[in-house]
Assembly symmetry: C2
């Protein structure tokens, strides 16, 4: 006698920065704190429509803006995106969820990212965490990511998570929030 | 007018410890140095036939043996497996090669592993490095790994790289050296 095999669960890979972690918020905070005279009012997400922070700031700020990413604490102190914890925990009941961060772009970020995940997403086992570069290497049915470059090389269905820099990108299903993700995958 | 697309290259994922990095050699060195009285002669790879180091040593050594992996320098000082550099560089000319280490099992190892790769395999771009847990997440045609647990969950063809612990494992094509890998993929 043999028992029927449960159907294989679909795999969802989830990016970190700008998807579950508010990296841009911390970037804006540090930029506004250190360069208060660049603009009459502090820069906000709304000012970045279609641009990255370094593209919106004066061009001689790029080095300073990039350097924030390489400070020890940058990726450790990020705020969690609204509803990400609750929805990811729900997703895990129906899907195999992996966190997949292009951490190789900032090799100093590994430890902080790992600790941040352990603090804020303790229900995700470390066996389901991936620090990679090019996300073409992921075998998953879906990738939720804000970066169109990664969505292009990914071989499953890419789902674009809205960030100020990507608002003009088309060609993917788009989610604006974790409530959107919940509706898409769990309704 | 359009040019014909080149055929997609096959993807080979390559494990680090016991495949390109001699982690067991360093483990044996530290164990023999710190516990010279456990055995009449220093332990060697040949003594481990079918066993891991902690299984071959007295049972009360397990904590100490595991602790070596969490020292800052362990993964930084490993010797490179013979011929791994030359053959991997050759493989890159015909395949998309990714390094895929289950680094999540030892989260303190990220920085050392990254620096070790940069020193010994500078021709591998960081975009092709993956630190993961469960290798079921890899989308690759081949995985060269010594760990049967990872080969079992991988969805492409697993190729077992011989290490003392896995000599009794069957069910995979087996390579004993990088010269074997060269013959398998490049002849």
């Amino acid at each position: 006698m043999s028992f029927p095999q449960p159907p294989a669960r679909q795999v969802i890979a989830v990016d970190m920065d700008e998807v579950i972690a508010d990296a841009l918020g911390e970037h804006l905070f540090r930029y506004n704190r250190d360069f208060p005279d660049d603009f009459p009012e502090p820069l906000t997400r709304a000012d970045l429509h279609g641009r990255r922070l370094w593209q919106a700031a004066p061009s001689d700020r790029r080095t300073a803006i990039d350097a924030y990413l390489r400070t020890d604490d940058f990726f450790r102190v990020l705020r969690v995106m609204p509803d990400a914890q609750r929805v990811l925990e729900r997703l895990q009941s129906r899907y195999d969820v992996f966190i997949a961060s292009a951490a190789m772009e900032v090799p100093t970020s590994f430890a902080a990212k790992y600790q941040w995940l352990a603090e804020h997403f303790p229900f995700i086992p470390s066996s389901r965490i991936v620090f990679c570069g090019d996300k073409s290497i992921l075998r998953a049915d879906f990738l939720i990511d804000d970066n169109p470059r990664q969505l292009r090389v990914f071989r499953g269905e890419g789902i674009i998570y809205t960030s100020p820099a990507n608002v003009n990108i088309t060609g993917y299903r788009r989610v604006d929030s974790w409530l959107n993700v919940e509706k898409l995958f769990l309704d």
